[in-house]
Symmetry: C2
């Protein structure tokens, strides 16, 4: 049986992505490695965009911790704020924007986890 893991997110370094920076709490490279789910903290920096993309198999959940942003699907854009939960089913094209002056900080949950 796998062991329990306890870690603090502040001990995990961010790495840069095109839309800001992210860190893996649960997933590859973390002491908490799951085959079922991936959990990250992502910061969408002011002025940055996570361009439209599709996860053919993965579901994604964005739980906003702080800041503001925009989520977009074919239905249009809408604002997101702290406490908002965005559920993106597999196969749905989506994008995330931060046109505001404050960093948009969110917990990102993906299932199944990324392969790389």
């Amino acid at each position: 049986m796998k062991d329990k893991a306890v870690l603090n997110e502040s001990d995990i370094p961010f790495f840069s992505v095109d839309w800001g920076r992210t860190k893996v709490l649960v997933g590859k490279g973390s002491p908490a490695a799951s085959d079922r789910v991936m959990v990250k903290i992502t910061e969408y920096l002011p002025g940055y965009i996570h361009e439209k993309h599709v996860h053919p198999v993965q579901e994604e959940i964005i739980f906003v911790l702080s800041g503001r942003g925009l989520t977009e699907t074919a239905g249009g854009k809408r604002d997101i704020k702290p406490g908002d939960v965005v559920f993106i089913p597999a196969g749905l094209e989506h994008a995330t924007y931060n046109p505001y002056k404050e960093t948009l900080r969110a917990v990102i949950i993906k299932s199944p986890p990324d392969n790389d």
Copy 2:
């Protein structure tokens, strides 16, 4: 294809559990219903205990938003605080305690989701 869902956690009511109160952000009864993952906000109230139990199949992740508490497995108890991530593999007996004066508020992620 399922649709995207956007909701705010403050619009979802808590229901009582033996260790405090909880609400389902993603899962049964939510507009964001996933077959893969369940996401809840749980508040472990001061003086309350989520007694030792086992999820034979489900993995559980506790991401602490605020407050303090204790997580216990066979290896012993340890304090948890904001930013802590507790990863509990399937089959591992565990408990959560809040012996402190402040509510322990956490995001709970379970995969696969609860059946009931």
